[in-house]
């Protein structure tokens, strides 16, 4: 379906491709190079034409036909969230979550810092569908690049006819504070901790009103969908993932924090080649710190699509691809990540408070080759008890990482269990542990 189309060249027809920011073949990342800073409104409109004029129903239909899945990690179709909110009592609230609490992920940071108008235009369109009078842009307080770019973009945007009221919210840092219910709760009562709720946020948020929390990348895709039409946007994806997707490369790559846009069906190997790798690494951490390890040679041939990833027990998550080189120790790196994640518990739910330190201690003991047999027993027992026990899925995510570590690095586990620490156990961590901030 094509509604009001911008000029033909506005959204490049996509085959399989990999582009970085500034490449004209991109869809979200096309436009000026990073050295030029945030894209101005003038440049944005020159490039894509003015925002298409569509009714609420038409925008909703385009979003539904596009099949856009949320890009914050959950992958829930946006149109269904919108449908739930519209069918629930009360005036819906829209929050665009730009806080990106995953320390190694940079996609939302990059998008907000360099393409702020894409995010704002998409958010305005979602607000139109919801009939939301106000849109909250939620950021980490310390996220300088996105903050300045979005503030400036809002000034440039002014208040065109029908635009919602924009509010920028600055939340605290921390891994779980970027979780959707924590963001909604922060906006309502100033506490950035996950919320226990028996109903989805889109039906009833902490304020009692339907609350749609949408990731920055998701909002930006909405702008692309409306400019080029749902059909073309969809075609830039793959069978199980409609539309293009952003991923962040981390770990042993040429430039950790590089964000790449993928159109069509592309294998993880092809993506890693663009990051300077020539051969499969030892392993790849897919989807974020609470993600899944995949053996390098397996990952190399796997297309970055939900269907192929789920066959390996992985998900796209936040789009993070972390590279573990040969010679590094997957158990040692995982132990550091589990330790970080255990420290990031909100401290609200008993099982998370008591269980995560057991996992962290166990992984550390295993990595150091001390008491490995006992450590493994504790880890296994805790990993069975934790899933589904918290208000949010934080403990489930840590268990996922631990389980895949034990599986993928099975041979190393056997060595470590025999009380031998590996040479790499005391080196510099491969992955970052503080929220990403840019060169600005």
């Amino acid at each position: 379906m094509t509604a009001v189309l911008a000029p033909e060249q506005s959204v490049p027809v996509a085959g399989s491709a990999l582009v970085q920011i500034g490449d004209p073949n991109g869809i979200l990342l096309a436009g000026p190079a990073p050295v030029d800073g945030p894209e101005s409104l003038g440049s944005y409109v020159d490039r894509l034409g003015p925002a298409p004029v569509l009714s609420r129903e038409e925008i909703f239909a385009e979003i539904r036909d596009s099949g856009l899945q949320g890009r914050g990690g959950g992958g829930f179709p946006l149109w269904r969230k919108l449908e739930t909110a519209l069918a629930s009592p009360g005036d819906p609230v829209l929050v665009v979550n730009c806080s990106e609490s995953e320390p190694a992920s940079r996609k939302d940071w990059t998008l907000c810092s360099y393409r702020p108008h894409t995010v704002l235009e998409g958010a305005a369109a979602i607000a139109e569908v919801l009939g939301a009078q106000e849109v909250v842009i939620h950021l980490h307080g310390g996220s300088v690049g996105p903050r300045d770019a979005l503030r400036n973009a809002l000034r440039e945007r002014g208040s065109p006819e029908g635009d919602p009221v924009w509010r920028i919210s600055y939340g605290p840092g921390g891994y779980v504070s970027g979780e959707a219910s924590a963001v909604a709760r922060y906006l309502h009562e100033g506490v950035a901790l996950p919320l226990f709720a028996s109903a989805p946020l889109a039906r009833r948020g902490p304020s009692g009103r339907p609350t749609v929390v949408s990731n920055a990348e998701t909002a930006a895709h909405v702008a692309s969908i409306l400019h080029g039409g749902a059909e073309r946007w969809r075609g830039a994806g793959s069978a199980s993932c409609p539309g293009p997707q952003l991923v962040t490369l981390s770990g042993a790559v040429a430039n950790p924090g590089t964000v790449v846009e993928i159109t069509g069906s592309v294998t993880i190997g092809t993506i890693l080649r663009c990051a300077g790798l020539e051969d499969p690494p030892q392993a790849v951490l897919m989807g974020g710190y609470a993600g899944t390890w995949i053996r390098g040679h397996q990952a190399w041939q796997t297309p970055l699509e939900p269907a192929s990833l789920s066959a390996l027990g992985a998900t796209r998550g936040c789009g993070l691809i972390g590279v573990l080189p040969h010679g590094a120790c997957g158990i040692a790196e995982s132990a550091l990540i589990v330790d970080y994640l255990a420290g990031e518990s909100a401290g609200q739910c008993g099982p998370c408070v008591l269980g995560l330190p057991v996992l962290a201690d166990g992984m550390r003991a295993l990595a150091r080759g001390r008491g490995g047999r006992r450590a493994l027993r504790h880890i296994r027992r805790t990993a069975v008890a934790l899933p589904g026990s918290g208000a949010c899925s934080h403990p489930d995510g840590v268990v996922r990482l631990v389980a895949s570590t034990l599986e993928v690095f099975h041979d190393d586990v056997a060595r470590h269990r025999k009380r031998s620490a590996c040479r790499t156990a005391h080196h510099r961590p491969l992955f970052p542990f503080s929220a990403a901030e840019g060169s600005s």
């Binding site: 226990f196 028996s198 609200q348 008993g350 099982p351 805790t382 008890a385 026990s389």
Partner: protein, 74 residues
């Protein structure tokens, strides 16, 4: 009349009384915190038990919904 029981893990402090009040719907986990079982519970008796469990919790962690009315009881 279908009863669904919820435990708010942010409030639960592991007193464990709920599992005594409505053993068919609630169990205690590895650490002794309350946890709702997946099973479905029907009938007026289940509503009574759910209410008992809810009232017995010193931290107000238990809530339940009755599917017919879709009214959250708190």
């Amino acid at each position: 009349m279908k009863v669904v029981v919820h435990v708010d893990p942010t409030r639960c402090r592991g007193h464990g009384i709920c599992a005594l009040m409505f053993a068919e719907a609630l169990e205690l986990d590895h650490w002794g915190y309350g946890r709702a079982l997946e099973a479905e519970h029907e009938g007026r008796r289940s509503v009574v038990q759910a209410r008992r469990a809810q009232r017995a919790c010193p931290n107000g962690a238990i809530s339940f919904t009755v599917a017919e009315e879709m009214q959250p009881a708190s």
